[in-house]
């Protein structure tokens, strides 16, 4: 398994061969607050880099979750759709959003490292 990478829209990606697992960061969940609804994509759906792939809603508002990488969805995590609150508990572990078969590893390589992402969050507080 590869190094965990991060996007400016607060998603994380783990790569295993050509299958990427995508979720939202702990920082994102802290900004969103209590998560009460999640919609994950179905297998077979094609997504573009930075294209809308899933939906997450907190008590405050609905937000889109973007795919940091292009590819074809192989699985949406139904467990988080059934228990949206679990995203607050374990956003960077069991509560991943979707897996996809990637097309271009270069897109993964261009994402931020953990250190770069932490720095990005500090410089862009909201």
């Amino acid at each position: 398994m590869s190094e965990k990478k991060f996007s400016k829209k607060h998603e994380w990606v783990l790569l295993d061969g050509d299958v990427a697992t995508v979720g939202i960061t702990k920082h994102a969940t802290e900004m969103l607050g209590d998560i009460v609804f999640v919609e994950v994509p179905d297998a077979g759906k094609a997504v573009e880099k930075e294209g809308q792939a899933a939906v997450v809603e907190s008590t405050k508002a609905a937000s889109d979750v973007y795919s940091p990488i292009s590819g074809e969805i192989t699985e949406g995590n139904k467990a988080i759709a059934d228990d949206p609150g679990s995203v607050n508990t374990d956003p960077e572990g069991a509560s991943w959003f979707f897996k996809l078969k990637i097309k271009d590893k270069g897109e993964y390589d261009s994402l931020m490292s953990k250190d770069e992402y932490d720095k990005f969050c500090k410089e862009n507080p909201s």
Binding site: G33, D34, V36, F37, E39, V55, E57, S58, T59, K60, A62, A81, P84
Partner: protein, 364 residues
């Protein structure tokens, strides 16, 4: 316009509040615990809310003050006893709701609690009907604190002896820290509780005392989920100038006597609506699954005709399901009617539901 702050702004900051601009004020949307925990602690224990952005509008005058106010407010003010409160509205010529409010009879006249976003216009509208000798004052030296939840009475009694005797929708003067303050038994959460009108100079002391009695600070976020579960309207969302009390399903708030005799703005129109019903009406809505139907979600009938729209929608932590309110054509308003809600281009099933979604009995 410069952003305004309540007297407790720095206090909220120290409590870890996240602020949002609301009706021209910087107000706490939540504190460290977050909306769901704040909501639950209000329902199970007690929470306090700084609602000092709301207008506390005082009127003084003789019998003619009642005549003046009754032209724009459809409550029976003549028979409203001192220290008793009523939920009512300001109405325009078309019967549309300019604002919804709580009016309390005082020794010298009335006190009206107005929505923050509306208060300046409200005062203009009310003033049109006032006579020169009627005195009025929007008192910005007072804070307004809501204490809500099942433990409210036990806690407040320790700080302000005597409040236990207040019945729902009544108030009285009390002494606190050698100063007079006014307490009403009322609220906006569906829980038992109080609203405390207290000078800006004493309000921090009161909050210190509430916090030391384990009362949690509650932000606007939980205030919204609490009021929506309780089926209560939020002005600017569920109510506006184009909606009248019959459409808003609030005809109960027009006094019986006033329904018969009229004499208030928009009465002709409202009389007709009372007799014949309105084309659309406010209803409760429960989506079937977990999807949240937020404001402006389109509502469709089971045979795909557009029949209305959502005006408030969120996740209800105590109901543990999404809840919403909106307007539908009256023929679809019966509880249990199957509807569809269009969220992000997809239709989801739902039902017209009874209001409130969450019910507790007030102390009568």
């Amino acid at each position: 316009m410069e952003v305004q702050k309540t007297a407790l702004y720095n206090y909220h900051k120290n409590l870890g509040a996240k602020f949002v601009p609301f009706a021209g004020y910087e107000m706490p949307i939540q504190y460290k615990d977050g909306i769901v925990k704040e909501h639950i602690s209000t329902r199970t224990h007690a929470g306090f809310f700084d609602v000092s952005h709301m207008g506390q509008f005082f009127l003084e005058g003789d019998e003619t003050l009642i005549e003046s106010l009754e032209k724009i407010i459809p409550a029976d003010l003549k028979n409203l006893k001192v220290n008793h409160s009523k939920y009512s509205f300001l109405l325009n010529n078309e019967g549309g709701i300019i604002d919804d409010l709580i009016i309390t009879r005082t020794e010298k006249g009335f006190c009206i609690i107005l929505n923050a976003a509306c208060k300046e216009n409200d005062i203009k509208q009310i003033s049109q009907f006032l006579k020169k000798h009627h005195k009025h004052l929007l008192n910005n030296d007072l804070s307004l604190i809501a204490l809500q939840g099942p433990k409210s009475v036990e806690i407040l009694e320790k700080l302000i002896p005597g409040v236990t005797n207040l019945k729902f929708m009544t108030g009285n003067n009390f002494e606190y820290e050698s100063e007079n303050l006014y307490v009403t038994r009322s609220g906006y959460t569906g829980e038992d509780g109080f609203e405390i009108s207290i000078s800006n100079t004493k309000v921090e002391k009161l909050i210190d005392n509430l916090i030391s009695n384990d009362v949690k600070p509650i932000g606007l976020g939980a205030r919204d989920t609490l009021r929506l579960e309780a089926g209560l309207c939020l002005y600017g969302h569920d109510l506006n100038e184009k909606i009248n009390p019959v459409e808003a399903n609030l005809k109960w708030a027009i006094a019986k006597k006033r329904k018969e005799v009229g004499g208030f703005n928009g009465w002709e129109k409202i009389k007709n609506l009372l007799a014949n019903g309105s084309e659309k009406i406010r209803v409760g809505i429960k989506p079937d699954g977990k999807v949240i139907a937020r404001e402006n979600t389109k509502i469709f009938s089971s045979d795909n005709n557009e029949i209305g729209f959502v005006t408030s929608g969120t996740f209800g932590p105590s109901v543990n399901a999404p809840v919403a309110m909106g307007y539908v054509k009256s023929e679809f308003s019966e509880v249990g009617t199957t509807i569809q809600l269009e969220v992000r281009g997809k239709k989801y099933g739902g039902k017209i539901s009874e209001l409130p979604f969450y019910k507790k009995s007030y102390v009568k």
